[in-house]
């Protein structure tokens, strides 16, 4: 590989990391409240609200059932409105975030469901408000599980970001498709794929580690 190609791959790594972290972050900005709303309004939740739950549930299911590659094209007008163009690293953050929100929402919901009902009841018996229960009980008690969820989200978004390469999304996936697929430069494709695999492994390793350190139920 030439120097230029190596530089290109390094830039690709940077772009991928930027896309993945920014869209995961944005995904949580919307996905966390969505997950909390799902949990609270569920019929076993703290404020059961069948209508709200049904609406959120349907939106999440629709969002999750659209394949990412289709969503990417489908929301091009929205992306263009938001960032001015529909290709490149920054533009790809928009569809990545949109597809991550329902996914993250579901994951947050299931993490919160793992919290012991008795602890919530205890907090209620002490006169805690709903907001206090969310911030001081639910999010705290679910922390290890939420971190595990974030790890899964990161890995999935790395995969999605690579797919965005097909429409000029930038990053490692873009390089793999342009050089490896269109120009038959198998070596570049293999290197980028290897880097993507290593990235996912690193995220998973770090996430598991963090979750374990944070979990005070064991390993003390």
């Amino acid at each position: 590989m030439s120097r230029a190609e190596i530089m290109m791959i390094i830039t690709g790594i940077g772009e991928t990391l930027l896309m993945v972290f920014v869209s995961t972050f944005c995904g949580y900005v919307f996905g966390l409240p969505l997950g909390i709303a799902l949990y609270m309004s569920d019929q076993d939740g703290i404020r059961p609200n069948r209508t709200l739950y049904r609406i959120l549930d349907v939106i999440v299911n629709i969002g999750r059932s659209i394949p990412f590659i289709i969503l990417l094209i489908l929301i091009i007008p929205f992306t263009r409105m938001l960032v001015g163009k529909s290709y490149g690293t920054i533009a790809t953050i928009v569809p990545l975030t949109v597809s991550a929100i329902p996914f993250i929402g579901r994951m947050v919901e299931s993490s919160l469901k793992e919290v012991d009902k008795g602890v919530i009841e205890a907090a209620q018996s002490m006169g805690a408000s709903d907001l206090q229960i969310i911030t001081k009980v639910l999010l705290k008690e679910a922390r290890p599980s939420l971190i595990n969820g974030a790890t899964i989200a990161l890995g999935t978004i790395v995969g999605y970001s690579a797919m965005a390469g097909t429409v000029g999304g930038g990053g490692l996936g873009d390089i793999a498709i342009r050089y490896g697929y269109y120009r038959y430069q198998t070596n570049i494709m293999l290197v980028t794929v290897a880097i993507i695999v290593i990235l996912v492994q690193l995220f998973q390793f770090a996430g598991n580690r963090l979750s374990r350190i944070m979990d005070k139920r064991k390993n003390q």
Partner: protein, 336 residues
């Protein structure tokens, strides 16, 4: 006595897939300030629902709940939250925050109430001292034993300065030794802070250990209300009898004849009642089970005796016991 808790005509039903389940029907009772009051019943009798109605964790369908002269159902959300701070609750499964230190757990109710962090910490350490766990402040709940966890839960309750303590099967997950020490602690707290205590349990031994008065729940209905001593001596209902007999946990012998329950008090434990009975009639009786328990510090014994098959002789024996001894004698029809 000033009624701290007053429940009248409380009813609650649940909708389930198999139809409507009546958890409570028309339950009324009063608990005086500073009393240790027991609610006993077998599982499914409605005890847990009843105690959850007291702080409105469960909304009753009908009835009235007055706590310290305030109608709980009249309170709005905010007032209810403030009221709940005065009603502490401990649970069978302790329900501590597993991701927080012991100190943070005890600080929790104060944090909710808006007490400053440094003051909360100071008070929390004091309450941990009361329950004898101040050296565990930095530990996490997973590092503690069951009894220690319940002590932390009690310290957490004390942190909100409650007037009432509800104990929902608080010792049911603990071994007898630990149960005893937790009950001692509850008794201490009752005396020291003059907190009214309501104890929910399926174990007669718990009621005998600490309660003054109690009610017996069966199938959501109030079967009997009595002092603990009276309940043990003369259980009026079959529900109460079942709980008392169950408390002995003994293997049931095969009994066909008539069964007598004899209850002793401390004063007549020296009297050889059974020996005298046998000497008098020259006919054997069969002792099915026998035990002694301590009720509020006094010894109480009970014995189940199977009489001979001869009905006339059995009648005579009962008459003899009633006339010549000071023990309480009652024939039991529902002994299994």
């Amino acid at each position: 006595m000033y009624p701290m808790i007053s429940v009248s005509h409380l009813s609650k039903t649940f909708e389930s897939k198999s139809g409507t389940v009546t958890a409570l029907s028309d339950v009324s009772f009063e608990v005086g300030k500073g009393e240790i009051f027991g609610i006993i019943g077998l599982s499914g009798a409605g005890k847990s629902t009843l105690v959850r109605c007291l702080n409105l964790l469960e909304k009753p369908d009908e009835g009235k709940i007055m706590i310290d002269n305030e109608d709980m159902m009249e309170l709005n959300d905010k007032a209810l939250r403030l009221k709940r701070r005065k009603i502490g609750m401990i649970f069978q499964s302790f329900n501590l925050l597993m991701q927080d230190t012991i100190l943070a757990n005890v600080c929790f109710p104060m944090e909710i109430a808006g007490v400053s962090r440094s003051e909360a910490k100071k008070k929390a350490l004091d309450y941990l001292k009361v329950v004898g766990l101040e050296e565990k402040a930095r530990a996490y709940p997973s590092q503690l034993s069951g009894g220690q966890k319940q002590r932390v839960a009690i310290a957490r309750v004390l942190a909100s300065n409650p007037e009432i303590l509800l104990c929902d099967e608080a010792t049911s997950a603990l071994d007898p030794e630990t149960t005893k020490s937790i009950l001692e602690l509850i008794k201490d707290i009752n005396r020291k802070y003059n907190i009214t205590v309501v104890v929910i349990t399926h174990e007669m031994a718990v009621i005998q250990e600490i309660c003054n008065r109690c009610i017996v729940l069966e199938d959501g209905k109030l079967a009997e209300e009595n002092t603990v001593e009276e309940l043990f001596r003369h259980p009026k209902t079959s529900a109460a009898r079942r709980l008392i007999f169950n408390s002995t946990n003994q293997v049931r012998s095969m009994s066909s004849g008539r069964v007598l329950r004899i209850a002793f008090e401390e004063a007549n434990t020296t009297e050889p009642v059974i020996a005298n009975l046998i000497l008098e009639f020259k006919k054997p009786v069969n002792i099915l089970e026998s035990n002694i328990s301590h009720i509020n510090g006094k010894s109480r014994g009970q014995m189940m005796v199977q009489l001979p098959d001869d009905d006339k002789l059995a009648d005579k024996m009962i008459a003899y016991l009633k006339k010549n001894t000071s023990v309480d004698v009652a024939e039991v029809s529902d002994y299994e």
